[in-house]
């Protein structure tokens, strides 16, 4: 994906410096990652842009993460900046739904969020990786407090409605049993000399030792019921103090049943680079990031502005828009340059004066379906009854996820779960339902994992991203073919316009993709602006 074939003529340090100068800090950071440097570096934020030409202006379309990062940095460099935003709020997909919020989806169906104070769901992005350094940087800069996002919870469930009689299994036991059986098999193969060709005798000893520890095997390299395995998979009766708590060991699930259940698939999700612990979430909801940017940018953002035409010539950019809050009368904003972060699903429908390579790229990316459902319950039964504190249960049911709040732990009173996070066919089907039907289905499915749902459910809200008026989909889905043909053209500056957003990144759907895309784009645009000047 990245530049390869680096010759010996330049050192890596020189090369990185060149990339940093020419392409901006995001590109440098990406190059550093690919060269293995970034692991040791501490990302201190974007390289400051040198001063802009006096009077130079930039029009930014969209006040999501990409647009607001661009506005923030370009203003700092001295540009006159204006941002046009379709919604009446900033953030775009960076968004939190709280009690009192009203959301009207495409088709006109409205929902009132009736969560209690302090409770929320994030319909869009909800977690930040520890290596999403751009997002972490701006959170710190803007005073957005972060707290841990619990991705992996050993006490949460893996659930397959067609395995174990539909009874959810603890992540802990699935992981322990999978690891234990694999270790036992590998130890067996080693001791049967099946690995003699591949592993030296000395290493076989070390391998056996490590398998014994890693898989919680007994003295005979077996994964069986006993103290060793129970110390990993848990006990039927946990050890305690005094006379009343003699431990009772638990019985491992046998390998065929475990493999057949497919539950190991759910175990692997948290192994993904983007999901590895530690992850973070903003205190009070992901939307705090967008709100913080909006406070910082203040009156630079014009809300309720629906873009209907994007024109440019050798002197500048002219964007026609309607103020949807007042009238349908058209207005035109002018600037020397334009950073356009409008999702391609919408941009492809807006008349836009750009060349064929960019126009073709905009038309080449379909948008993914996704649905989230938030459910409020009278009490935090997952904590009180099941000792599940934060984290995620994965299921084969259409809801796919039940995510427990990572905030307000141990508080008495109500709680809000993410009661569904759907993709693919399930998301398409849920999108086609009414908001109330989605909530009802999420309660119905979730009650098969937590029977308490039935008695404790109070209210819910759902967001189907293909029904979102401001995105018409969740995120850009690239095929390898489309990426090879169109991605570079999508990111390239066309005249006075450059695109940014998650769709212009190698990190689809992640805010970090939107953010680094924006830093990369404005670095290139700034360089061109300095070269060409503003002649208007």
């Amino acid at each position: 994906m990245r530049e390869g074939g680096i010759g010996g003529a330049v050192t890596r340090r020189q090369l990185l410096a060149m990339i940093g100068t020419c392409a901006g800090s995001a590109a440098m950071y990406q190059a550093m990652s690919s060269l293995g440097f970034a692991a040791q570096s501490s990302f201190k934020g974007p390289t400051p842009l040198s001063p802009a030409r006096p009077g130079a202006s930039v029009l930014i379309l969209g006040a999501g993460i990409a647009g607001m990062v661009a506005a923030y940095e370009l203003r700092k460099a001295g540009y006159r900046v204006q941002v046009l935003e379709y919604n009446a709020r900033a953030g775009g997909r960076n968004w939190t739904l709280r009690g009192g919020d009203r959301y009207v989806e495409l088709g006109g169906l409205a929902q009132e969020c009736r969560f209690d104070p302090g409770l929320y769901i994030n319909p869009g992005p909800w977690r930040l990786s520890h290596h999403h350094r751009g997002m972490l940087h701006y959170c710190k800069l803007l005073g957005v407090a972060l707290e841990p996002f619990i991705q992996t919870n050993y006490q949460a469930y893996l659930h397959n409605s067609r395995a174990f009689g539909g009874v959810p299994q603890r992540y802990r036991t699935v992981r322990a049993d999978y690891q234990g059986h694999v270790a036992e098999l590998l130890a067996k193969a080693t001791r049967a000399k099946a690995l003699d060709d591949a592993v030296s005798a000395e290493d076989q000893e070390r391998l056996l030792e490590s398998l014994q520890e890693w898989g919680a095997l007994d003295g005979s390299y077996r994964y069986v019921k006993g103290l060793t395995s129970s110390e990993v998979r848990g006990y039927d009766v946990s050890p305690g103090g005094g006379l009343s708590a003699r431990p009772v060991y638990s019985e491992p699930v046998q390998l065929p049943e475990l493999l057949g259940s497919g539950l190991w698939q759910g175990m692997l999700l948290a192994e993904n680079y983007d999901m590895q612990t530690t992850m973070f979430q903003p205190v009070g909801g992901m939307g705090m990031v967008g709100q913080a940017f909006a406070r910082e940018l203040g009156s630079l953002i014009r809300y309720n502005a629906k873009v209907i035409d994007i024109a440019q010539d050798e002197r500048g950019v002219s964007v026609t828009f309607e103020d949807t809050s007042q009238s349908t009368s058209r207005q035109t904003a002018h600037a020397d340059w334009c950073v356009c972060t409008i999702p391609l699903s919408i941009l492809g429908q807006i008349p836009m004066k750009v060349g064929a390579p960019l126009a073709d790229a905009i038309a080449a990316v379909p948008y993914a379906a996704s649905v989230k459902v938030g459910l409020q319950f009278k009490r935090r039964f997952w904590e009180e009854d099941e000792q599940i504190y934060g984290g995620i249960t994965y299921t084969d049911l259409p809801i796919s996820n039940i995510s427990y709040p990572n905030y307000g732990l141990f508080s008495s009173g109500k709680g809000v779960l993410l009661g569904g996070y759907l993709f693919g066919l399930d998301a398409a089907e849920f999108t086609a339902m009414s908001p109330q039907e989605r909530v009802a289905k999420a309660v119905e499915y979730g009650s098969r994992i937590h029977p308490q749902y039935t008695a404790e459910f109070e209210n819910g809200i759902s967001v189907a991203w293909h029904r979102s008026p401001f995105t018409l989909g969740c995120f850009g889905m690239w095929t390898e073919e489309a990426r090879a043909k169109h991605y570079d053209n999508l990111c390239a500056i066309d005249g006075r316009i450059v695109l940014a957003g998650e769709h212009a990144s190698y990190m689809p759907a992640w805010q970090e993709g939107a953010l680094t895309s924006s830093l990369d784009a404005i670095g290139r645009l700034h360089r061109r602006a300095l070269e060409q000047g503003a002649s208007s």
């Binding site: 299921t395 993709f423 086609a432 018409l472 989909g473 889905m477």
Partner: protein, 153 residues
Amino acid sequence: MTLVTRLRNRAARAAMAAVLALAAGSARPDSTTTVGMFGAGHLESTSGEVIYQQICRGCHMPDGRGASGAGHYPALAGDRALRSAQFTALTLIEGRRNMPAFGGKSQEGFAYIVPTLDDEQIAAVTNYVRTHFDNHFKGTISAAEVKALRRPH
């Protein structure tokens, strides 16, 4: 919503599933032989009406009249482009702009897969949208004709 129960293999939610779907190619994937958590997503139904209600309706709306926000979903009601059954079927197979391809195109990356429709299903939903929502376009398309439209992979 009893329709939900008609879905057997669940849509993908993980990288593992993405791999499975790639292997499935353009044909309708075989029913999952294990009871894995994440199956490739496909509909069982070959009814054009059911397919419309489970997939198309999300964007084109229950009445086939589309919707409008910052952008819009086109109305299928009275859409002259539907005069051609071939064009309609091809749009389903290949996708068009922000509309995903339902013909079994592999997607890069993780955790998302577009439901795959086979020739019979694409023919059925093509014939459905051309004769509902006050549309009265002449002629139908068969599964064999849909098959002939597919690009070789």
